[in-house]
């Protein structure tokens, strides 16, 4: 995360103000006084509806798409546009010095779910990008580690929709990149970011080696023009 992003104000204080409400015995005038409260500034959060609307209206010209190589998965190219749009969106949002390439996201999805929107055989994580319950909670916590850009009103069952799961995963990848940098004390490589996404960066297990090997094979194929 660039330091300039940290200094930007994401939340503002709204002073006590009158608010129109439905006329009732309690509020016969239809006006009540709302106490001072916090409000997130526009552009620092997304709801389910925002996600759908942004994708529908996104300017597709000059987008970078992932390589249209299916990697031999029947649905391998089905989500290329979603990947392209949201990678571009978050690259712009976080103004990253080394922008994320959509091929990274595509190779990650291949290893997480084989491009299945609802792999049912895993209770710990859901959907095409295998987001855990804990990650979903973190991504929606206005005081948590992703407070500079959060989602809201996303339910676990929404993760079964790739239109929702993919933008959440890409935002999470940006967070994981920052986390990996903190842990490693250097700018992380793509592979290190992927390991951090999978929770395996500091691991010494076979799974770490094999998952990385698998990502590398897919990513190399996608990087071939």
């Amino acid at each position: 995360m660039p330091s300039s992003m940290k200094s930007k104000k994401k939340i503002t204080i709204v002073r006590e103000h009158p608010l129109h409400v439905q006329v009732s015995n309690k509020n016969p005038t239809g006006i009540t006084i709302r106490d001072q409260h916090q409000r997130r500034l526009p552009g620092t959060s997304l709801s389910l509806e925002d996600i759908k609307s942004i994708f529908k209206n996104y300017n597709l010209s000059s987008l970078i798409y992932p390589n249209p190589n299916k990697l031999d998965f029947p649905n391998g190219n089905q989500y290329d546009e979603i990947i392209a749009v949201w990678t571009d969106y978050f690259n712009q949002k976080f103004n990253s010095i080394s922008p994320l390439h959509p091929n990274v996201v595509k190779a990650l999805i291949a290893s997480e779910s084989g491009f299945r929107s609802d792999p049912p055989e895993n209770k710990v994580a859901r959907g095409i990008t295998q987001i855990t319950k804990q990650t979903l909670k973190t991504l929606q916590d206005p005081k948590g580690e992703t407070k500079d850009f959060i989602f809201y009103k996303i339910r676990q069952k929404d993760l079964l929709d790739p239109d929702i799961a993919i933008p959440l995963a890409i935002r999470w990848l940006f967070r994981k990149k920052a986390m990996a940098k903190q842990k490693l004390k250097h700018e992380p490589t793509t592979e290190e970011v992927i390991l951090e996404y999978k929770g395996l960066l500091k691991s010494k297990t076979e799974l770490k080696d094999k998952a990385l090997n698998n990502f590398r094979i897919n990513y190399e194929q996608l990087q071939k023009t």
């Binding site: 031999d72 291949a110 929770g199 395996l200 076979e206 998952a211 194929q221």
Partner: protein
């Protein structure tokens, strides 16, 4: 006939060499750019759940199938996303049953086996054969089945049809 009786131990020995030893096999039966199909006898296959102690969430596991190949090195067939404890052990039980009931095991994995084998320092034990080095190759686990029709898919479990999607390569 007398001749056969006289030499029966020799015939039995030859029969054992020809068929007894050849009952254990590993064979690549199909490939495409990013898929591999293997036929193997169950004695060469060893599935296991690997604990992931360094992860922030507790009780997560990796799932691997060790396969002893034709030159006696270990090929890893690995589920590349992490699993919960219950999910991993459930699939382990089901796959053990497939191995127990079958004599010809079909394994489908994503990846390729084009790279030359490199003997790694890690060694793994296949109970019926011994301890062997891994060969640096790996496949992403997708499906395992036996000739009885028992089948387990990495992402769909044992729901039918199985295999489906990526496998079999030639439908």
């Amino acid at each position: 006939m007398n001749n056969f009786k006289k030499h029966s131990p020799v015939f039995l020995f030859i029969f054992f060499i020809l068929f007894g030893c050849s009952t254990s096999y590993f064979q690549i039966i199909g490939t495409s750019s990013n898929r591999v199909e293997i036929n193997v006898t169950p004695d060469r296959v060893f599935p296991y759940c690997e604990p992931q102690p360094d992860m922030e969430i507790k009780d997560l596991f990796g799932f691997h199938i060790l396969v002893l190949d034709e030159v006696k090195t270990i090929l890893f067939v690995t589920q590349t996303n992490v699993l919960d404890k219950e999910g991993c052990h459930k699939r382990l039980d089901k796959i053990r049953r497939i191995l127990k009931k079958g004599s010809n095991i079909y394994i489908g994995g994503m990846g390729n086996l084009n790279n030359p084998r490199k003997e790694e320092k890690n060694q793994y034990t296949i109970p019926e054969h011994g301890t062997f080095h891994s060969n640096s190759r790996m496949l992403q686990f997708m499906v395992i089945a036996n000739e009885q029709g028992d089948c387990y898919s990495a992402f769909q479990g044992d729901s039918k049809p199985c295999p489906r999607g990526e496998f079999p390569i030639k439908q």
